[in-house]
Symmetry: D2
Subunit: 332 residues, 4 copies
């Protein structure tokens, strides 16, 4: 198994899906040991660092990649298995960036109101207890919250020659900001360009569903990723699998469209897996799906539709790829 260990220099980060030359060419089956920078590009280090003063918008949400996957062609399916995510610094940062987030007007949901106060929170990492510490900025409350690491952003180059900001979630994955992108999860993405050109980043030490204020507990991350390639079978939208569940992610606006996309993608998957008529898949999913919302703050809103395996007949999605990657992960 090829191993690639990589920590980008500042100049090597990319800020788009598509449009950047690959940093490395890797073979299917490779394991990557990557460093990902935090979404603020390490600009917020204390509560006195305000996003309007310190964050350079040209350099937000830096991605580690892109990687060229040998043999990947449009229509293929890239499988990225998250083996491990470990906080790479001793603190995470979160911020209420003016006119960004879910409970404020934005450049899209535009109003004439004043912004909320530009505010930064710093969460200290306690590795022994595996927690981050919430400290109120306008009061005394402190809380220990479990670290539940995830990657906010995982994506491939889009089709049609498009180049999209790393802030965007779409068909190609990208900034989906779902807590389901955690260790133990396999992410299936349709390949749009030769080599797939995937990249990832935006580590969160933890995040609620919706990422309400627009930012999670953002932190640099050490990430171990297994990369595989499935010839053909590209899903229309990102699919996820872990030991417990099958999932699909829709990203659009309004939010009901994101949900519709995810739900239809699951109907299509159920048709494949269980040879079900779409009406029966629709009915079955109506009674069993969970909907752990991902983000309601990005360029598109992302909604996860999730079906627990324990409720379903046994199946081998993508020919058992997830189980195989889990097996390999234990051997690293």
């Amino acid at each position: 198994m090829d191993e690639v260990t990589f920590r980008p220099t500042f100049e090597q980060y990319t800020y788009t899906f598509g449009g950047a030359a690959p940093l490395r060419s890797i073979r299917p089956g490779s394991v990557l040991r990557l460093w990902t920078e935090d979404a603020f590009n390490h600009a917020l280090r204390s509560v006195d660092d305000l996003s309007t003063e310190k964050v350079d918008l040209r350099y937000v949400n830096p991605q580690t990649g892109p990687f060229h996957v040998e043999g990947a062609e449009p229509g293929d399916t890239l499988a990225l298995h998250i083996v491990e995510l470990t906080p790479a610094r001793d603190f995470g940062a979160s911020a209420a960036i003016p006119f960004f987030g879910g409970l404020t007007s934005t450049d899209r949901t535009a109003t004439l109101q004043d912004p909320l106060p530009d505010t930064t929170w710093i969460y200290q990492v306690d590795r022994a207890r595996n927690t981050v510490g919430f400290e109120a900025r306008f009061g005394d409350l402190t809380l220990e919250l479990p670290i539940e690491p995830m990657l906010g952003t995982v994506g491939v180059a889009p089709p049609g020659g498009e180049v999209r900001s790393s802030l965007v979630p779409e068909r190609f994955g990208g900034n989906m900001d779902t807590p389901e992108a955690r260790p133990g999860t396999t992410i299936y993405l349709g390949v749009n360009v030769e080599g797939a050109h995937f990249s990832l980043g935006d580590g969160h030490y933890r995040q609620g569903e919706g990422e309400a204020c627009g930012t999670a507990v953002e932190g640099a991350m050490d990430a171990t990723i297994l990369v595989e390639l499935i010839k053909g079978g590209a899903p229309a939208w990102p699919r996820l699998e872990n030991d417990e569940a099958l999932m699909a992610v829709g990203s659009s606006r309004p939010m009901e469209d994101s949900w519709r996309i995810g739900q239809v993608e699951m109907v299509r998957w159920f048709e494949q897996l269980y040879d079900l008529h779409p009406m029966d898949a629709y009915q079955l999913l109506s009674q069993i799906t969970e909907v752990p919302v991902a983000n309601v703050v990005d360029a598109n809103y992302s909604v996860v539709v999730k079906a627990r395996k324990s409720l379903l007949p046994e199946t081998r999605a993508f020919d058992g790829m997830h189980a195989e990657l889990r097996r390999r992960a234990t051997q690293l």
Copy 2:
């Protein structure tokens, strides 16, 4: 403790919140043992019963109630604790009603396309195994799914003299269709009219988040409910509490507005419970909330915002009402 046992006759069901004379006057502290009819008003009994032929739209989503709560005044808080829900029939029914549901055009998301085929599914109840049986209509798949009973509709009379169909979820509760309205949950609703005039119904033997096809496993239900009254303190939107979590439910369109409402209602609750500044509540909720979507099919879409108690300092919401009702429930 007053006990009221009640099974409405067909003529006694109501189809609105507001606008109906109370069936009974009850005292705070009462326990109600109620029968609720299914949302189709028992019209679908076999897969050959099609919704377009059998379901009378004047009589859908029948409610048991309204009940007049003695002493309840506008601005008070009604607490309804669901002690127990038991399927009252041996089958549940679900249907894909033409132009109703989440993966079809509707009278609102209007298109020129043909409807999906009018289809009915019947789920047999296995009381011994506590399951309902899914049977594909266009194939052979059968599945046992756990019964997870809930009430789709719980609400009070709206303010301002409005009368709303029992199909509507709103500030007054109503047809929220959230699986969180399950045994062990306390629902807090702001009182709008003297006596509160609450009613409930729409039992689901189980339901996925979103209620994608528009109907759950609909079934008549035996429901045991504890009723309490809190003077004052009316929440702006429905709040829920169980042993694990605090929740708020927003119901509007588009779906991001439902989410915003629920999130802001939780911010306000956190301000009260923990004396938090709204910015700190916003930050904290951003990192811990779960968002188990309720429905994406009704007159308004309902989204639940949920905060786990295990992540939070101990608190006594509504002066410990939920714990007290749990205690009383064990003594029934």
Copy 3:
């Protein structure tokens, strides 16, 4: 022709569609000469009258009516022809009500931001020049704007026993807030209850499309209305006709759903009028419709879809009702 002249006392105004006893029973063919109070119920009379201090939310958008139309039955079509609208006072008022309007967060599009400043504008009526005067509150600009009187609210009782606030636009008409409801326009509404029970109010001396700040130049109005009844033929959604155009009004959320509703209603009307296949109606409307948005601020957003008669073959919608009412209007 029966004539009814009516100016309600304060106690006679109604604030809902449905739920109020008719003030008068009238015969089809009647002409009504009505006074309508302004939407603030005359509470804002100077720029020092702030909406948060002076406006009583129980008494906003007072309606003149309801009127019982003899012979009107569910499924019939009520035709209301606006003959004349004349400002009944020497000033109109507008206000930026906190958390109400299009460029602010609201109770639905909920954020944590502060409200915009509660501000009132008074427009003096110049009857000789037929203008109202805009006067900046935070600067010196003054402007004369033509009076273009319209009725913000025209509706019938809803079906299913519902009672809706007069602030709501829906299938039954109501608070559509479209400038197209002007003298010379005939409004067709489907009858839902025996007698139709229509009412109207919310006169605007002028209004932009969208009613951005939430209120128009609100003023009491003298209104002359011709009432006719068409047996059968109830449209699903309100239709409007004037000498230049056919129109349909959709009211829902999000705004694209309002537009879809209006567009589909026009497709259906074109099928009836020109015996067109829906695909041909769809194509034709795609190339000719105008979309003068009505409101983006009310409980539902209202969008008008409009087709100019000059582009179309001659036709007699509703058997020539509009032309007939225009003829009668000239004889008053």
Copy 4:
């Protein structure tokens, strides 16, 4: 005055904003005489040409450009004045493309319904009468409709290194599909990259507001365009000006967000032009704006907010640029 006459070869069309090398470098003040290909890339020539069979999705909405404007820098304002648009072929084509358009489910508003029938309409151009002919495909109706030529797509390269499909309307302009982009209109676009790199295309012989079926009367166009550069002053969103009105275009989802964007952009413009406080601009616009919807079918929905000059004090937007370009246009 420099004159550039240009008709691209098939290989020279571009399908993105950003990401393509400029075809020409031009000086501010130049007049361009351009050919634009139709949105189907000339694939639909008879009613028997179905979009699913003939249209190659890699080559839809071909753009003529990009042009590099000498001296244009980020933060500058590009002014494009449409002098003349003339149908360059004797027919226009329109199509109901499966799962594309406003009255069908789409890849975003995803449902499980069948698509509408793939249908093509051909409109013959009558140059003498200046009309196009509608011919029903499923009936006999024929109609002459006036030619009202417009450009569906006008845009510059986006910021941040993004490359966007020519199907997308956004801050950078693009596929706004507004009938207001007609002869006599000046379009102001903020410059994002050195040289601006603007392109245009997607001629429509006529189009209704909303472009309901997803396509207008699409046709190749001879376009005469005056190009000017204003140093600085870049608007946040596209602004338009003609002799009658000032306009702003918002493009997003849901449609109320597009409207909010356009309305706020006009508030900002009014602040600049009339030294108005934002609350006074908000109030004034509430009473005078028209909202001619552009498209409800593209990747973003576009809404135009329009203020008539006849209602406003005289002003010289962008230092009188529009009047100057009108003057020059008369001298061509």
